[in-house]
């Protein structure tokens, strides 16, 4: 037991050191690399908290695609040669005091938490069988709190609409401005050829495993997104124009299937987003499979950014 704790102390120390460094690093570029490491470390922390589902999501989205996004932004920004001056010392001290206060209050909250923590775990466990799933977190996401998950998909799509709406008028409907390798070398091309099949298998595995053990649509979808971005960065594949019919279709197929099955719940079960007993699991699998595709495409397009040029004829 103490050995595990020793592990955790090392982990917590490393995490805080990297986080501090991320904030104080001199250049934005160094800060982003530190943030990458931070995200991957955080995944290990989630494992230590026995939240393996969250660990997978954190590694994939928090550490993975967020860093890819920020790295792309750093490339696209025309940074000035001189370093940017931050706020003055008095404000820094004031901010430091404020943040120390916030940390102290939060720390006190953690310290004075009641001995017996409130929990919904037994409730989730008891109703797990009814959902037909073996993974309690997936059951919460797709059965007990399905509305949250549906709305979250809508948020993803809304964010994409927001990103696209920042395109200039001439570029509307065109190709996103994801920075790509100017001259992909043979080694990179090899990697970009060999990794997609593996990535697709792992992605499908994550989605499939999600029903009974940690994993699921987000994690699988993220891997698909990363694979797609890799082939586009290595220029094995052109970026799609955002008004392509197939692209729009892929974007909405997941949420639409989710919504349709949810609405069908009015007729074949008792309420919105309710599944009829017995076929709950197949329905959830259909929803998850389409969501995996939609999430993959949406995440990749969010990383790719707003359209910047018209497709070449």
């Amino acid at each position: 037991m103490t050995l595990i704790f020793a592990c955790e102390v090392v982990l917590a120390g490393l995490l805080l050191a990297i986080a501090t460094w991320t904030i104080v690093a001199r250049t934005a570029f160094a800060a982003i690399v530190l943030f990458m490491v931070y995200g991957l470390l955080l995944a290990i922390v989630w494992v230590a908290l026995s939240a393996v589902d969250v660990a997978l999501t954190e590694a994939a989205i928090g550490g993975g695609v967020t860093s890819m996004l920020l790295m792309g932004a750093a490339t696209r920004l025309r940074a000035p040669k001189t370093p940017v001056a931050d706020v003055g010392l008095p404000l820094k001290i004031a901010a430091g005091l404020l943040c120390a206060l916030v940390t102290t209050v939060l720390g006190a909250v953690v310290f004075f938490l009641p001995d017996v923590a409130p929990t919904l775990a037994p409730l989730a466990k008891d109703n797990l069988a009814a959902s037909g799933l073996g993974n309690p977190v997936a059951a919460v996401l797709f059965v007990f709190r399905a509305l949250d998950t549906l709305l979250e998909k809508v948020v993803l799509l809304l964010a994409l609409v927001g990103v696209w709406s920042l395109a200039s008028d001439e570029a509307w409907g065109g190709v996103p401005g994801l920075p790509v390798y100017a001259r992909p070398g043979p080694i990179l091309v090899f990697l970009a050829q060999i990794l997609p099949p593996i990535g697709i298998i792992v992605g499908i595995y994550m989605f499939w495993a999600g029903a009974t053990q940690p994993g699921g649509a987000f994690q699988g979808g993220t891997i698909l997104a990363a694979v797609w971005l890799l082939t586009m960065m290595a220029r094995l594949q052109d970026l799609p124009a955002i008004n392509a019919r197939w692209l729009r279709l892929l974007l909405v197929v997941g949420p639409t299937a989710f919504l349709a099955i949810g609405l069908a719940g009015f007729f074949i079960a008792d309420s919105f987003l309710a599944y009829p007993p017995g076929i709950a699991k197949p329905l959830i699998i259909v929803v998850e499979a389409t969501l995996t595709l939609s999430i993959g495409v949406t995440l990749a397009l969010l990383v790719a950014g707003p359209p910047e040029r018209l497709p070449q004829r």
Binding site: L15, I32, L77, T103, V109, V110, F111, A124, K125, E152
Partner: protein
């Protein structure tokens, strides 16, 4: 000290760190980064509550876990939107910071982030 408490304090410090970066760093990209650190601190606190709610043979309460998963995805959406705004701002003005300005236009840009 239990491991849940250890990471709870960790989360509290991360929130403070992220907030500090959000206030003091001038570059918008650094602000976005700090905001992500702040968010991960909040998620970690959720994780601690989930861990403390371990019961019925589960290592952690699944409900906060599901909330955090949703939260991570939403945080990513917000980050993507913020980055797109920043890139557009940079294209229009050549700036990578939001300058305090009295004119209405840049005031609006400042308000977006």
């Amino acid at each position: 000290m239990s491991s849940a408490a250890l990471f709870g304090y960790c989360g509290a410090v991360l929130v403070g760190l992220g907030l500090y970066g959000l206030i003091t760093r001038a570059e918008v990209l650094r602000k976005i980064l700090s905001f992500n650190v702040l968010g991960s601190g909040v998620f970690l606190l959720f994780g601690v509550f989930a861990r403390r709610g371990a019961a019925a043979g589960l290592g952690a309460d699944p409900v906060p876990q599901a909330l955090v998963i949703t939260g991570i995805v939403v945080a990513f959406s917000a980050t993507a939107l913020a980055v797109a705004l920043l890139v557009r701002l940079n294209k229009e003005t050549g700036q990578i910071i939001v300058t305090p300005d009295d004119s209405e236009e840049s005031g609006e840009q400042g308000a977006t982030r």
